[in-house]
């Protein structure tokens, strides 16, 4: 504990109580939604600078992503993998474990599911096939976290580096699998296609598959895990104060492994749902790269799996509507990444300012304040 925080702690403790209720709720909302609003505004300015009409652009985003029936269905479908990857990241992050290898875990699970699914779904009842494929995705995702988790838990090796490295290997290995053992009959390197009868059921009259409900259920379960269970509390202790975790007798190496595997399993489940729910096959060069796009959302949701739901919808609108809008505005699809980057930037800024306010400092930059003082 640094001297600074020690000073803070012994400073706050005291005496007379003043009747001030924290506006904690409003604060949380500002911190979560503020960065998105600021990013969209800055995005608008950027659009204006490069000669596009920002209003028309955002209008297109909303129209294609939200107000058009087909767009809304795509948006909702898209929330499924985002929620599941998000749940996986939340599990790890809350335990203070930086699983930044979700792309490798996702893609490797996708490759296995896409490689096995067509044959499996043709030979067993589809419902059983789905369950087996879900477990397959989870097992592959979990397996890919074992090495970083073990190195971290046993030897304290920085998991940011190991998960990123494992992610590169995983992405490459997934492509190899699709080109090799899982290659289908098509001339391009891709797996066989799942028969339409084997795909996840859609809800009546819409193109929204039941995997979305699975994702919502998993989000609620992860929320419950942290809110109510001893297992979740242990992960929270590990994340909040790893030395306290050792002190209170938590088996840290074991918990690290279990947490990492759970994280990887949820990410692998996202891949299974995507393949069997939406894509039906996998090409060797395919990579939706959810991982790093979902990370900022997870933090905006303050590592709360239920609060993640609106952000997943936002992400869905932006990616489905954004794809349409960028095409219409003749911009590269990567413009969405610019917006996500801006969200990250403003998130850090909002955090900085609200920390400053908590310390009772002025929000104005220092130079201005000195000038004011002299005025």
């Amino acid at each position: 504990m640094s001297d600074m925080t020690a000073g803070l702690d012994s400073g706050i403790e005291t005496a007379a109580r003043i009747p001030s209720r924290r506006r904690g709720w409003v604060d949380a909302l500002v911190r979560s939604v503020g960065p998105i609003v600021l990013a969209l505004l800055t995005g608008a300015i950027l659009l204006a600078i490069i000669g596009r009409d920002p209003i028309a652009f955002y209008d297109d985003v909303l129209k294609a992503g939200l107000f058009r029936a087909s767009g809304l269905q795509d948006t909702i479908t898209r929330t499924a993998p985002v929620l599941l990857v998000g749940a996986g990241l939340i599990v790890a992050f809350r335990a203070g474990l930086w699983n930044l290898g979700s792309d490798g875990q996702y893609l490797l699970a996708a490759a296995f599911v896409a490689g096995v699914a067509p044959g499996l779904l043709a030979s067993v009842p589809v419902a059983i096939g789905w369950i087996l494929l879900a477990f397959l995705g989870m097992a592959v995702g979990a397996a890919w976290t074992i090495v970083p988790a073990w190195l971290r838990g046993r030897y304290g090796v920085n998991e940011i580096i190991t998960t990123l490295m494992m992610s590169f290997i995983g992405v490459g290995l997934a492509a190899l699998l699709v080109k090799g053992p899982f290659d289908g009959p098509s001339t391009v390197p891709q797996t066989s296609v799942i028969d339409p009868a084997g795909m996840l059921l859609d809800l009546p009259d819409v193109r929204i598959h039941i995997g979305v409900f699975l994702a919502l259920f998993v989000s609620a379960a992860v929320y419950w895990l942290f809110a109510r269970t001893a297992f979740g509390t242990r992960m929270d202790v590990l994340g909040a104060n790893p030395r306290a975790a050792v002190h209170v007798g938590i088996d840290v190496p074991r918990l690290t492994l279990v947490t990492f595997m759970l994280s990887g399993a949820l990410i692998g489940l996202a891949a299974a749902v995507d393949i069997v729910g939406v894509f039906s096959y996998m090409r060797a060069d395919w990579n939706p790269a959810y991982g790093l796009k979902v990370v900022p959302l997870v933090f905006l949701a303050r590592l709360n799996a239920l609060a993640m739901i609106p952000f997943a919808v936002f992400f869905g609108v932006m990616s489905i509507g954004g794809a349409y809008a960028t095409r219409r505005a003749d911009l590269p699809g990567d413009f969405l990444l610019v917006l996500i980057g801006l969200v990250l930037l403003f998130m850090v800024l909002t955090q900085y300012l609200s920390d400053k306010r908590e310390r009772g400092e002025s929000l104005l930059p220092r130079r201005t304040r000195i000038a004011n003082a002299h005025a």
Partner: protein, 544 residues
């Protein structure tokens, strides 16, 4: 109640007239945090050439006030004058530029760098470090302090007292007018503390103003030209040089205690401060024949450059308090952690009530009644951002009745928390308050409550009263006495010799990870232990 209102006597001691301007003057400083007013219209004056001692319980607002002077916090209202000019100290850097030097309780030198490198690092370095002028400056300041300093020795190889001298030099490096020392003697040996007094005297003779924060009344009386007592964010009493000179220390001490706690608490606090031996009280303790904790030839490696322990053997019986003395960093932490199970032993055997626990996990040892009150309260003892209630059951996660088949029962936790808060007199607004917001003393009470509740057999206390105020210290020592009456075996690890003499039956001395002797408490024990410790103090090499 502004200090320095009466200046006539001060003027008599001045050599030059301009020294009459206070170095730093605080006027009606108020600072509130959510839920508390840490500083409530505090006015204080630090005069050049004087030591102002700031006394107060944990949570009296001392740290906040010093953070305001050093520029870390901004006051909500009130004014600060430095050298007669009103200023806004908007950052610690600005504070340093204005001549406010701060020495924190915990030393912050980088052990692998040399003394000179440490000092150059702290001095707002440009791209190129100017070694030659740094050497000159170091020699200059070392002679001002009256100490010998080797610029090229690694900071980590210095004794704590010497490291503190370097910290003081660092604080004075760019020309300080005010030096703030936050509990500077808490890590020092008695000799080191005496030496520090001499250093401070030398500095005030050169016109420096010093603010000296301490818990120890006798120190404040010995060192201070003025004494100010803070309580609940207010200045509740001050003493000027006249008053300090007029009365004998004994009487001053009583007056200060009255200021701090009011009349009612004076006798209590006095007992703790003057350490009336608790030996008599413990005559009633039942020392059973049964050894509850046995260490047989135990060795373990240390962490963070500290000593491990080598071939330590020690037996503690029920109803007995065994002290472990020694200078910090001589294996105390490894000793405590290996008993708690947090650190793996590389040799030897540990038995709890006759049963070997070598392969028993931390939480199983906890369930068996072996408890460890850590000295690193915020670092590992609690999750600071969590409520008091859950911190009180932090070592029982997943256990009945707080977790039922893995699912939390919040009302059970709440009930137990309320009971413990009541029983252990933990001052908290509610069980839901974040524990990090409580004062150090109340955090310690919560940790002790957690360890001592639920039928302990053996309790290891690591520096149980370090940094606590007089009253809490007394309460903690009472608690230790009470446990022995219930037949609990207690180990108290402390670098405070007075404390060990006060509470222990026997005192073992750790030197460089080895147990160099065990002394029965009684007449002359203090000297004997002191000799063993000082023998240790002569050489504290850190093994490779």
């Amino acid at each position: 109640m502004t200090l320095g209102a009466d200046r006539s006597d001060v003027a008599a001691r001045r050599t030059t007239p301009d020294q009459l301007t206070p170095t730093v003057e605080l006027i009606e400083i108020t600072k509130a945090f959510p839920g508390v007013i840490a500083n409530d219209h505090i006015s204080l004056v630090a005069m050049p050439g004087e030591v102002l001692c700031l006394l107060g319980e944990n949570g009296a607002g001392k740290s906040t006030l010093m953070s305001i002077i050093s520029g870390l916090y901004q006051p909500d209202s009130g004014r600060i004058k430095v050298g007669g000019n009103e200023v806004r100290i908007h950052s610690p850097r600005h504070g340093r530029e204005l001549g406010v030097g701060m020495v924190y309780q915990h030393l912050s030198l980088i052990p692998t760098l040399t003394v000179l490198e440490n000092l150059m690092m702290g001095a707002n370095p440009g791209i190129v470090l100017d070694q030659r002028s740094a050497r000159t400056r170091l020699a200059e300041l070392a002679s001002a302090l009256g100490v010998a300093v080797d610029p090229d020795v690694r900071a980590g190889s210095l004794a704590l007292g010497q490291q503190q001298h370097i910290e003081i030099i660092k604080a004075l490096w760019s020309g300080s007018r005010l030096l703030i020392l936050d509990e500077p003697t808490s890590m020092l040996t008695p000799q080191g503390a005496m030496e520090l007094q001499g250093v401070l005297r030398g500095l005030t003779a050169r016109g420096l103003a010093i603010i000296f924060i301490t818990h120890k009344l006798h120190e404040a009386i010995a060192i201070g030209d003025r004494v100010a007592v803070l309580k609940l964010g207010r200045v509740v009493g001050t003493m000027g040089p006249d008053e300090l000179a007029a009365a004998p220390p004994q009487e001053l001490q009583e007056r200060i205690i009255t200021m701090m706690f009011g009349e009612a608490h004076a006798p209590d606090a006095e007992v703790a401060e003057l350490r009336e031996p608790a030996v008599a009280a413990r005559a009633a303790a039942v020392v059973t024949a049964e050894p509850l904790l046995e260490l047989v030839d135990v060795s373990a490696v240390g962490a963070d450059g500290q000593h491990g322990i080598q071939h330590v053997s020690l037996t503690v019986h029920g109803g007995e308090v065994v002290g472990v003395a020694g200078i910090d960093g001589n294996g105390q932490r490894a000793f405590a952690e290996v008993i708690a199970g947090q650190r793996r032993q590389i040799a030897g055997e540990i038995r709890l009530a006759g049963t070997s626990i070598d392969r028993t996990s931390v939480s199983a040892r906890q369930r068996m009644g072996l408890r460890y009150v850590t000295d690193d309260r915020l670092g590992e003892g609690v999750v600071a951002s969590w409520p008091v209630s859950i911190n009180l059951v932090l070592k029982r996660i997943g256990q009945m009745p707080y977790w039922n088949r893995g699912t939390v029962d919040r009302s059970a936790i709440e009930t137990t928390a309320r009971e413990l808060i009541e029983e252990f007199d933990i001052r908290t607004p509610s069980p839901q308050t974040r524990i990090g917001k409580l004062s150090g003393g109340n955090i310690q009470k919560a940790i002790i409550a957690r360890e001592v509740a639920f039928e302990p057999k053996v309790v290891v206390f690591n520096k149980p009263t370090h940094g606590l105020d007089v009253r809490t210290t007394h309460a903690v020592r009472e608690r230790i006495g009470e446990m022995t009456r219930q037949g609990v075996a207690v180990v108290v690890i402390s670098s405070d010799l007075d404390e060990l003499i006060d509470v222990c039956d026997r005192v073992a001395v750790l030197d460089a990870g080895r147990l160099v002797g065990i002394v029965e408490n009684g007449p002359g024990a203090e000297t004997r232990i002191g000799e063993l410790i000082v023998g240790a103090a002569a050489a504290v090499p850190i093994p490779a």
